[in-house]
Each structure stands twice: as structure tokens, then as C-alpha cells.
């Protein structure tokens, strides 16, 4: 259970978020919307602990995430607006290495299956990532969601650069995750079709 308790966020001289509180139970998705520059990315980064909250705290299962940093990070996946891929490595290497560093070692075979699940054919699994298109790179970066056991997913514009088919695949994966008791927070401009009973909306005024 993720709980934001009265958090505020200041970037430079701008106050982006003031005294925001919410609780997110297992099996629910929080869609964060708002205009460009309204602080969606800052909010997500703050929830991950990358950005210190000006005031207030973020609680994971009732414990301040600053106090249980490693336990919290071990239940979290964050996919930022950058793809976090190394251009010189192949998609397979990118996914296996980033999962391994995050503490979730997976086999090459499982990685290939995940890449196929996001619609990347085996032929491009062994090419350097630099030759892939934007949408393909985004899919490589999202493939971690298919191999991970982590409960909390924090996704920054996950649908950006995705075509209709991949968007459908990701929606499906999100629904599956929620039905297994996962928690998702996603900043997006898109309607997320996971069912009204699972969806919470947060609109940032900026």
C-alpha cells in the first residue's frame, strides 16, 4: 500500500505540488494527468525517492520510504520518460542487465519471451539497440514489466511513441498486474482502460 502524506514539491522557484495526500491500495491504478509542466514527472520522481519532498512523506506499507529505502526499492519499478537503454548493447543485453542490476536476475530465454510479448521479433533481439526505432526502443524499455515480480510500477508516459497494437499489449499487461494485486502509478495523456473499479484519477493543476 502506497500512501502520500501531505507532500509538497518545489522545482527551482516554482511550487509544483502543494500538500498532496492520497492512498493507493493493492490492485489499483493511479492515472496522473495534467498539462505539460504541471509536475507529473516531478511527482513520480518524488514517489520513487529520486527527488526529496519539500515537506510531507511517502509511506510504503505504513513505513516512511526514506527509512526503508532498500525494501521499498526492492518492490518498485520506475520507467522514466528516458528509455534507460545503452545504444551499444542489444535489446536482450539491455533487459537482462538492467533487471540483474535491479536485483531480479532472469534468464536470456525469459528475456526473449518478454521481448516477443511486446511485439519485438527474434530477428532484432541481437541487433545493437541504436538501430531500433523510437517505438521499438520504448518497447524494449517496457519489456521489464513482463519479467518482473515487483509490486509497484511507476511509469512516466508509458504509451509515448507506442503504436496502437503495442498500446493494447501494455493495457493488457497493466490489467493483469492489477488483478494480481499490483499497484500502478502512470503519468499519461491517454485514457487507461483498466475498468472504473480499479482506476483512480489525479489531475495536477500546475
Amino acid at each position: 500500500m502506497l500512501k502520500a502524506d501531505n507532500v509538497s514539491c518545489v522545482r527551482g522557484e516554482r511550487r509544483l505540488i502543494t500538500a498532496l495526500s492520497f492512498t493507493l491500495e493493492r490492485g489499483r491504478l493511479l492515472a496522473v494527468t495534467g498539462a505539460n509542466g504541471s509536475g507529473k514527472t516531478s511527482l513520480l520522481r518524488m514517489l520513487c525517492g529520486l527527488l526529496p519532498a519539500e515537506q510531507g512523506r511517502v509511506l510504503w506499507d505504513g513505513e516512511d520510504v526514506r527509512a526503508c529505502r532498500e525494501r521499498y526499492l526492492a518492490s518498485l519499478i520506475y520507467i522514466g520518460h528516458l528509455n534507460s537503454l545503452k545504444d551499444d548493447l542489444t535489446p536482450v543485453e539491455n533487459v537482462t542487465i538492467s533487471a540483474r542490476l535491479a536485483g531480479e536476475a532472469i534468464s536470456v530465454e525469459k528475456t526473449c519471451e518478454a521481448l516477443e510479448a511486446v511485439g519485438l521479433a527474434r530477428a532484432i533481439h541481437r541487433l545493437p539497440t541504436r538501430v531500433l526505432s523510437q517505438g521499438q526502443k520504448r518497447r524494449v524499455s517496457l519489456a521489464r514489466l513482463w519479467v518482473s515480480q515487483r509490486v509497484l510500477w511507476i511509469l512516466d508516459e508509458p504509451f509515448a511513441a507506442l503504436d496502437a497494437a503495442s498500446t493494447g499489449l501494455l493495457m493488457q499487461q497493466l490489467r493483469a498486474h492489477l488483478s494480481h494485486g499490483g499497484i500502478v502509478i502512470a503519468a499519461t495523456h491517454q485514457e487507461i482502460e483498466v475498468g472504473a473499479d480499479r482506476l483512480d484519477q489525479l489531475r495536477l493543476a500546475g
Binding site: 528516458l82 545503452k86 543485453e93 542490476l101
Partner: protein, 227 residues
């Protein structure tokens, strides 16, 4: 178990950075070539007088090693910063200083170790003899990791900053001075027959101190840079 996990994570980070370096071999070669080139410039500038060369050799070779370390420091975090991987690394459920130690170790293996291995060759060019050559290599072996650790602080502080490549030199070079003094001093005193023991012990002490403090400072700087 946890300790084992930390060690495994450390190895993973080193292995990853080495793999990336292997894919970009030219980066590694640039550092080494730079070291050789800077070292070879001095005889051309000073003249081929063997006695003069032998006197300036320790200082020149150490300064060349220092500059080549500086040259490669820019790459330590910038690539990972630009493509977002560094952000992911901050979210690894391990202490951040561990990640720093891993990255610095890989950096040293890629850019420091080749310099250490090549140094006897350059020493020969400057007319250094048996024992002084050994001391030169040993002093670089002890000193260059310290340079990498100190340099990592500068690299983290200047991450994504305007004109960072010049700024990093201004920040880091003054901090390199003790290492330069003890490193070059070791070679000089061994050449003049005093023995290099004291200098080498001080270099070792410097390495331990850097190992204890620099990862923490670098981790703090990385957090600040990525806020």
C-alpha cells in the same frame, strides 16, 4: 546473504561497464594513446639530454598519468546520465556508494590499469633504470586508483553542468596534488638512492582514505545532480 548480494551487485556493475567499454574500444585506446603522446612530447620539448630526462621523468610521467585520468573522467557518468540509466542505478536496492565503487573500479580497469602497464615502457624512453622503473609502476599502481576515486567526486559534481569538461579539471586537479607529490617523489627518491618506502606507504594510506570517503561524497553528489 545480504553481503553476498552486495558483492554480486558490485561484480554486475563492473562487468556491465567492462562490456560497454569492450563495445567502444576506441575510448579506451584514446586514453592510452594520450598518455604515450604526452609522455613523448617532453623529450621533444626539453631536448634529448639523458641526465635531464632522467631527472624530469618521474614528474612528467606522473603528470601524464594524471592528465589521462582526467581525460577519461568525463565519461564516467555522463553517458549513463544522458540516457537515463544512471537514474535507474539510483533505484537499485543496494547502497549507492556500492554502485560508485563498482563504477570507479571499472573506470580504473579501463583507463588506469593500461597506463600502469605501459609506464615501464615510457620510463625506458626517459632512461630510468631497473629499480626506478619498478617503483614507477608500483607508485602508479597505488596512486591511479586514488585519482579515479577523487576524480569521481568531480565527475559527479559537474554532471550535466555547462562547460563541465573544463570545470572538472579545475575542481579535481588541486585535489590530485598530494598523489602527484608522493607518486613522483617515490620515483625520485628511489632514483637518488633514498628508498621509496615512505612515499609508497603514504600513497597506500591515501588510497585507503579515498576508498573510505570518496564513494560517499560521490554518492551524495550524484543524488544532488539527479534531483
Amino acid at each position: 546473504m545480504n553481503q553476498l548480494g552486495m558483492f554480486a551487485a558490485l561484480c554486475d556493475i563492473i562487468r556491465r561497464d567492462l562490456l560497454l567499454a569492450l563495445r567502444r574500444r576506441s575510448d579506451v585506446l584514446t586514453t592510452v594513446l594520450f598518455f604515450i603522446l604526452v609522455g613523448s612530447l617532453f623529450p621533444l620539448g626539453v631536448g634529448p639530454e639523458p641526465a635531464v630526462l632522467r631527472t624530469i621523468a618521474p614528474g612528467v610521467l606522473w603528470v601524464a598519468a594524471l592528465l589521462s585520468c582526467l581525460l577519461s573522467l568525463g565519461r564516467l557518468f555522463t553517458a549513463d546520465y544522458a540516457d537515463g540509466v544512471l537514474e535507474q542505478m539510483l533505484l537499485i536496492p543496494q547502497p549507492l556508494s556500492l554502485l560508485v565503487i563498482g563504477k570507479v573500479t571499472a573506470h580504473w580497469l579501463i583507463s588506469g590499469l593500461p597506463v600502469v602497464l605501459l609506464s615501464p615502457l615510457l620510463g625506458l624512453q626517459f632512461g630510468l633504470t631497473g629499480e626506478a622503473l619498478g617503483v614507477l609502476t608500483l607508485s602508479l599502481l597505488l596512486g591511479t586508483p586514488t585519482l579515479s576515486f577523487i576524480g569521481a567526486i568531480g565527475a559527479a559534481l559537474t554532471l550535466g553542468v555547462r562547460g563541465s569538461s573544463v570545470l572538472i579539471a579545475l575542481l579535481v586537479l588541486p585535489l590530485f596534488i598530494p598523489v602527484l607529490i608522493f607518486g613522483a617523489g617515490a620515483v625520485s627518491s628511489s632514483a637518488s638512492g633514498i628508498g621509496a618506502g615512505a612515499h609508497l606507504s603514504l600513497l597506500g594510506a591515501g588510497l585507503l582514505l579515498a576508498l573510505a570517503l570518496a564513494p560517499w561524497a560521490t554518492a551524495t553528489s550524484l543524488r544532488i545532480a539527479l534531483e
